[in-house]
């Protein structure tokens, strides 16, 4: 029974809870058992979690069951367990951002997203692994060791939110929260065969999200189905007075849009295939699956055209100026003065020496690389040529989107150029690593929403491939409608969810307990 519970989608679990066929304690316990069985450590297991809060999750589950009995659930997802990326502040639970420099830090406050989960009655299973401060596309830059892809544990689960995606793909959690600065929700979704949604910039509060690049960061749902993502998005989204950049207007009807799309009918929907986001250098298996998805969209009644967004070819370079600039400033606060790691190089060291030694010991190479890049890009004399210029190109990228959305309702592309690569394959080649986010970055630069939906397995390696659906800002509902339609059509074709094809994970530890 408990194994079956971990295979259910959140939507199915909600129905079971409503019908009193299970309890939140059972559901939560089943997922904790699964975590204990397969998560293991960075050497052997999936290693999706950096911290598991079994006690807290079960306590919340018991309360959720009482509410269900009393007929007073707090939200549609009351009692459904969830995993949270370790970049979101959780009161009373460690929050490391995958970095040594925050080892042992326990925030005294909740991020708004976390607050909303708690207010909605969701048991928080734990905190998921990530590239240090969300810098990476493979989760190999975590200071606590990599997460492994449940499809093949020698491969990367994507990044930076590899932990959240792997947790959901490995049935360790039905739902997770991720964050996406240049693709960190969508790209892990693609390579693990899960659904990842990056909402419109400002659609979900950033308060309590430890900033990588404030103007690009956005939290969003990581799930196994489009409908689950819509349910979670409606819970965590919406205006927050604590985040000045949050959008002060109601969310579109996302669950309704996902429901509408699930019929598989897209008559009258205009879809643009972005010509710059595919082609030479893209893995053939990725392109094949993408083409099949496009064909299915046509079959569903959509009008598909090719659209050019010429400035997208500059998006990656632009991103790697804006992101490091903002990050270099954001990360300055980690100085050992108030919290986190403190390295005292010698007796009687000055505050400045302690700051230097701590930052040297506490930050990994990728973080240091980007701090240096960003510091340089903002320096007097270089600002206009780098940061200033990047902001101008960013405006051009937004204009390309605007022009495209005058012709079509949504844009589509493969989510990532390749399937999951081997652990270590690109660790020494930062530029190759950065290319993973080629297709996902433009949405962050322009602040538009995007969802990645599984589109099948690549012929060469049998690994998952994702298709990305981009919509205009504030029109997140279009991502859900088209995403759900594609999901329905593909699932029918496969005869079940893609993850059913994933290999079973052998338990990593004997006599796992919780």
């Amino acid at each position: 029974m408990t194994t079956e519970l971990t295979r259910k989608t959140a939507t199915e679990l909600v129905d079971l809870l409503a019908a009193r066929e299970t309890t939140s304690v059972e559901v939560t316990g089943a997922h904790l058992d699964r975590i204990a069985a397969v998560d293991g450590d960075a050497e052997t297991g999936v290693h999706a979690f950096l911290h598991v809060d079994a006690e807290g999750a079960l306590a919340t589950a018991r309360e959720a069951d009482e509410r269900r009995s009393a007929g007073t659930p707090l939200s549609a997802l009351d009692g459904i367990p969830i995993a949270v990326k370790d970049v979101l502040a959780t009161e009373g639970l460690p929050t490391t951002c995958g970095s040594r420099i925050l080892e042992g830090w326990v925030p005294p406050y909740d991020a708004t997203v976390v607050r909303r989960l708690k207010d909605g009655g969701l048991p928080i299973l734990g905190k998921t692994n990530m590239d240090e401060f969300a810098m990476g596309s493979s989760t190999e830059h975590s200071a606590y060791g990599p997460t492994r892809n449940p499809w093949d544990r020698t491969r990367i689960p994507g990044g930076s939110g590899g932990g959240s995606a792997a947790a959901v793909a490995a049935f360790e959690a039905p739902l997770a929260v991720g964050t996406d600065t240049g693709g960190s929700i969508r790209q892990p979704g693609a390579v693990t065969g899960t659904v990842g949604m990056k909402p419109t910039y400002g659609g979900v509060s950033r308060y309590g999200l430890v900033a990588l690049a404030n103007s690009l960061d956005q939290a969003g749902p990581v799930t196994r189905t489009v409908m689950d993502a819509a349910l979670l998005h409606e819970l965590i989204g919406g205006h927050d007075p604590k985040d000045s950049t949050s959008v002060d207007q109601p969310l579109p009807a996302l669950v309704e849009a996902a429901g509408q799309g699930a019929s598989g009918d897209l008559t009258g929907v205009r879809i643009g295939v972005v010509s710059e986001l595919s082609g030479d250098g893209w893995q053939p298996g990725v392109m094949n699956r993408f083409q099949e998805s496009v064909d299915l969209l046509v079959k569903a009644g959509a009008e598909v055209v090719e659209v050019s967004c010429p400035t997208f070819v500059h998006a990656l370079a632009t991103y790697y100026l804006i992101l490091p600039a903002e990050a270099s400033s954001n990360l300055a606060k980690f100085d050992a003065m108030r919290y986190g790691l403190r390295v005292v190089p010698e007796e009687g060291a000055s505050a400045e020496q302690v700051m230097k030694a701590t930052r040297d010991a506490g930050f990994g190479d990728e973080v240091k690389r980007r701090i240096i890049l960003g510091t340089y890009a903002l320096s007097s004399g270089y600002y206009d040529a780098y940061y200033g210029q990047a902001q101008k190109v960013r405006t051009l990228v937004s204009r390309d989107f605007s022009a495209a959305f005058e012709k079509v309702d949504v844009l589509v592309s493969p989510t990532a150029p390749t399937t999951a690569f081997e652990l270590g394959a690109k660790l020494d080649d930062p530029l190759a690593m950065y290319l993973n986010d080629l297709a996902t970055i433009p949405a962050n630069l322009a602040g538009v929403p995007g969802i990645s939906v599984p589109s099948g397995l690549a012929d060469e390696d049998g690994l998952p491939v994702g298709v990305q659906i981009l919509a205009p800002a504030l029109a997140d509902d279009r991502c859900y409608r088209v995403g759900a339609a594609l999901e329905t059509l593909l699932t029918d074709q496969w005869g079940g969810p893609l993850l059913a094809k994933a290999p079973a994970l052998a338990p990593t530890t004997e006599g796992a307990t919780r």
Binding site: A89, Y109, A213
Partner: protein
């Protein structure tokens, strides 16, 4: 180490000073610039803090609308343009009392710009150009423990209080002030003094220099007389009294002159002002190496005050303090000295309110600068915190004018007011302070005074009326001062046949 100085008279003979003032005004908003923490002065360390002002990972700022309002009102009072659209920027540098290691400030888009203020020194008016007034947050406050000097060098540890971190500040920056010559020190002082008065009139700050709610940085450079090129400047930090502003300018002028005359170059640097010695010492050298890497704060949206709001705020501006003072002096007929004393005692508004309450300007001035100023001084209390209101003072004067009490009794009424015994009329009643004009009691007192002083009585009978003073004194003593001295005199002369 003592600097070589050139006598001030010689400095101004050979050099033209250029002044620049950067004044930080701590606003008196109830909450901080970017969070809801209280701003009360003097709370126990680190009790007025939250994730945002502590810069905890993930926390975000939200702009305090009241602080923006205060900034705009200050800008309008300084004849500035108000930006239609402006942003906050991050000023990046590492310092332990700065929680985020960047200060959220404004850079090339200040909310107020291009204004001016006329400053008067000894009848001469200098127009000070205001380059900008921008919003920013204060830092925490470091206390260095264990060293002899209280400075970081030699200390064995430092304590940081973040209560001050995030308090809203407005930084007001002048354009270079040239042409003041020998009056430069006075102009600097008068500018800060007038600015402080303006801030007080606007009600946007406690404006207490001694508590650091107004802090002045003084920039100074010298150029050879007649040269139109500005010299190298120094920036003297945290000059925290009006007198010190004047002294610091004077000192730096003499020091710069000595450096230049010796053929050396003035170092562009920060200087520290020492109130006790009246000297400045070198701080850190300001060079091109200092790069704050400003960029727009991505966690905040632009501030775009509507023109309607700006106009509405324009309507709330008080009368310009300098103009108001001139108007009141004329209306009241005060001499320059009387006016200066009134302002100096911090009693201008009190006198004005007392006049409004019905007292004559001279009577109002007499009480506030006499009895009440003395009381304030003796008890080390602010003059507006004595428990005596302008209405009370006007009521006391009314009782004097009506002959109910005399000035001596009025002082007893004030004692009653200090003790919170009620209104002046009630105090007169309760303490039985009214002047005695009952001839029965007076007559008896006069009779006994005559009987006790036969020699004096004889002199008066002989026509030496001036001697009556001695008898009046005796009667007043007998009556404990509660008699109308004029009536006593009449009775004495009457009884002695004069």
């Amino acid at each position: 180490m003592t600097d070589t100085l050139v006598a001030f008279d010689e400095v101004v003979e050979r050099f033209d000073p250029a002044l620049g003032l950067e004044v930080h005004v701590e606003l008196n908003t109830n909450t901080k610039m970017f969070c809801g923490c209280p701003t009360e002065f003097g709370a126990p360390p680190n009790t007025q803090v939250c994730p945002t002002c502590l810069g905890l990972p993930g926390a975000m700022p939200v702009v305090n609308r009241k602080a923006v309002e205060s900034a705009i009102r200050i800008g309008l009072a300084l004849n500035c343009e108000i930006a239609e659209w402006c942003r906050f920027a991050r000023k990046n540098y590492f310092y332990p009392d700065m929680p985020k290691n960047f200060q959220t400030s404004q850079y090339d888009e200040p909310i107020c710009f291009d204004g001016w203020m006329d400053v008067e020194v000894e009848g001469e008016t200098f127009r000070v150009g205001i380059e900008r007034a921008h919003m920013e947050e204060d830092t925490g406050k470091s206390t260095h423990v264990g060293g002899a000097t209280g400075r970081i060098h030699g200390a064995d540890h430092s304590l940081v209080d973040y209560n001050r971190a995030g308090i809203p500040l407005i930084e007001i920056v002048t354009r270079p002030i040239t042409g003041a010559g020998a009056k430069a020190p006075e102009v600097a002082r008068a500018y800060v003094a007038q600015l402080r008065d303006l801030i007080v009139a606007l009600g946007v700050s406690d404006a207490r220099m001694e508590q650091g709610s107004i802090r002045a940085d003084v920039n100074l450079s010298l150029a050879p007389r007649g040269s139109d090129v500005l010299g190298t400047r120094t920036e003297t930090k945290n000059v925290n009294s009006l007198r010190s502003v004047e002294r610091a300018v004077r000192y730096e002028m003499s020091r710069h002159a000595a450096v230049l005359e010796s053929g050396s170059k003035v170092l562009q640097e920060t200087r520290h002002w020492h109130e006790d010695t009246g000297m400045t010492t070198s701080g850190r050298e300001k060079s091109d190496a200092e790069d704050y890497r400003y960029f727009p704060e991505p966690d905040l949206v632009p501030v775009a005050p509507s023109r309607e709001w700006v106009d509405e705020l324009r309507g709330t501006l008080p009368e310009n303090p300098t103009q108001r003072r001139a108007r009141l002096q004329q209306e009241w007929g005060f001499s320059d000295l009387e006016m200066r004393d009134t302002v100096g005692a911090g009693a201008l508004d009190l006198v004005a309110q007392t006049v409004v309450a019905g007292a004559s300007p001279q009577a109002a001035r007499k009480w506030w600068l006499g009895e009440l100023a003395r009381r304030a001084n003796d008890t080390d209390t602010a003059i507006d915190a004595l428990g005596v209101t302008p209405t009370d003072v006007a009521a006391v004067q009314e009782l004097v004018d009506a002959g109910t009490i005399n000035d001596k009794l009025a002082r007893k009424v004030f004692e009653g007011l200090y003790a919170g015994e009620g209104t002046p009329a009630e105090i007169v009643e309760k303490r039985g302070l009214a002047v005695v004009s009952d001839d029965g009691a007076l007559s008896a007192a006069v009779d006994s005074a005559i009987a006790a002083n036969p020699d004096v009585a004889d002199k008066i009978r002989d026509g030496k009326v001036a001697a009556a003073g001695a008898l009046i004194g005796a009667v007043m003593k007998e009556m404990r001062g509660q008699a109308d001295a004029g009536r006593v005199r009449e009775l004495i002369l009457e009884k002695l046949g004069q």
